[in-house]
Symmetry: none
Subunit: 195 residues, 4 copies
Amino acid sequence: MTTRTPDRDKRAALLRAARDVLVEEGYHHAKIDEIAARAGVAKGTYYLYFDDKRAIFAELVDGLVGRIEAAIVRVDETADLGAQVRHNIRATIAVLAEDLALARLVLGVTRGLDAAFTDTITRLHVGVITLLSRTLADGQTLGVVAAGDTELLAAFAIGALKEAVLRSAELGPARREQLVTELAKFLEEGFLRLR
Amino acid sequence: MTTRTPDRDKRAALLRAARDVLVEEGYHHAKIDEIAARAGVAKGTYYLYFDDKRAIFAELVDGLVGRIEAAIVRVDETADLGAQVRHNIRATIAVLAEDLALARLVLGVTRGLDAAFTDTITRLHVGVITLLSRTLADGQTLGVVAAGDTELLAAFAIGALKEAVLRSAELGPARREQLVTELAKFLEEGFLRLR
Amino acid sequence: MTTRTPDRDKRAALLRAARDVLVEEGYHHAKIDEIAARAGVAKGTYYLYFDDKRAIFAELVDGLVGRIEAAIVRVDETADLGAQVRHNIRATIAVLAEDLALARLVLGVTRGLDAAFTDTITRLHVGVITLLSRTLADGQTLGVVAAGDTELLAAFAIGALKEAVLRSAELGPARREQLVTELAKFLEEGFLRLR
Amino acid sequence: MTTRTPDRDKRAALLRAARDVLVEEGYHHAKIDEIAARAGVAKGTYYLYFDDKRAIFAELVDGLVGRIEAAIVRVDETADLGAQVRHNIRATIAVLAEDLALARLVLGVTRGLDAAFTDTITRLHVGVITLLSRTLADGQTLGVVAAGDTELLAAFAIGALKEAVLRSAELGPARREQLVTELAKFLEEGFLRLR
DNA sequence: CATGAATGAGGGTTCATTCAT
DNA sequence: GATGAATGAACCCTCATTCAT
């Protein structure tokens, strides 16, 4: 090799540092200077690995989404559906729990504070909701999902999960399993017993 | 005695202008200059009515919360509980629908983009969740709420509502009623039918 | 008056400071900070009076061009033509001599160093050459200008004047009059005596 | 013994690339990165052949000057003087026409935009003017140049030529010959006919 | 009360230059 | 010699806040 090797480590270090700074300060108060410093590189080095400030945030978001996508299974209608639902909830929560602070950052950013992110984040949400919405439509055909507007149902499910994670002080195994159980139960039977 | 003092008008004009600018630009791109200009006052005048940039945003949030609080009824256990639940959902959605853009702004801002708001917004959420959580605990005593962690259940309910509103393209009367109906049904029986 | 008066003086001070800094440092090394400091105002104040860095330079150029335009007379064919030519040369040189350093800055900038200025400066040159070119064409009709490509002749005349000014160590009255005399003579009879 | 060393090739490639980039972007927007890339070498390699950014520009200027110097003949007073003058004008223009874009870049840069070049360029101009000025003084002794300040006359001649080349859209053979003819005529008899 | 000119800290981004490999 | 990753000084511009009038 004739030159210093391209440093995959540095990229990773920057991502890690960015996660920390972003979580601690929020996007607008996060300074490239600070990210670089924590990654142990000079400010200019940041720009060797990322085009601009927004890019590293987008990558963190994409990473989280990708990990969730990788973790959930496509529903197999011939197998135990309840188990699969619980598995997907569990898997999603597990991914979020891996880095709760980042999860909160990503889940908590929607439209409103910065037009720059509306795109990234909206795409994320629309994607997830659309995906789930279709799955629910399939479920209705199979008779395992109640009648109703699937987009709305998808929003209910996602919103319930998001808010629960967002409000969790921590997501250790016990808490996680509780969340899985209660959410699964909630999706199956609600919690109001008015009759 | 004079009629309405000019003050109240200017304050109101600033709030209205702020709402517009905030909705259009997001908090970080909203400029005091722009808010003042749209309110028809000088920039310095803003600071006669609000301490700083954050203050007007906080007031918008508080206003929304207050309107929701005013709209919902304390549950009367001797009356029709289902009707009251549906009423409260309906009333909440009605308030949010009054200014959907502002509602989305407020609902969509959680932690993450700006530490400055974490406080305001967190207080809001904690307040709502705590309130609902207590109500649910009461409900459990009355036997109208299923067993379970009431904070979690409260988060589920709030999250479902929030996400649904956040994703609604519009909230005309029809859509609103559909949301009320489906959410009420969802809270009562979930939507998964796995057995 | 209810507010601090808009400060025409500050604008003038900035222009003066910019002239100095530009002359001393050249456009690319001129710092807004420095211009503001010399004008005795804060950096931000600069942007109250000028849109960006380039704007103040453009204004200096425009000012010089305007002063030249104001100084030269439209040729009156019924009067003494030689006197008018000498007057226009003299007037132009007088304007340039008023601020020789600025004149050099402006005359010395053509294309090449910064695309941002190509426009401003090219427009200036094209304007002057076109104007002179037309005057020369009129002159040919009157029989006071030799046959030939008028654009080329205009470029010769302008170039001769520019280069002479650009190379002048100083332009005191004596030197100025010498320049006028010699240039007028040059335009009338050249300087090569080959026959 | 090897053939041309690789060095010479790289140096030449860098010079060629620099010319292109400089002409296209102007000095301040020309990036070493771009020059190196177009030359097909690494950025660091640039610094093996040139001390800094300015150096390659200086070399381009020197090259142009050298080619002009090589092209013009020392005046031989015993031969046809008019022919020699026309030859020198023709030869100079031919060199400039070889690379009109570079010629414009060099001719168009004087003082003003960047102090860094004032030296290089001033030296160039002073050199040329001094040389021509002496030649003109000789010419006065021989009686072939009119009386007058030779430095001024030299500036007139150089300026006329410079401006004409600077404004030429192209310098094909026909245009070139026209320029030679008209400039020679201009130097011999001016163009104003006021009597 | 009202104004809006003035302030200046703050930060994203660029790019010439260096130097370990 | 050649490379290109790393550096960090430099600088323009924004905008919340202040305060003299």
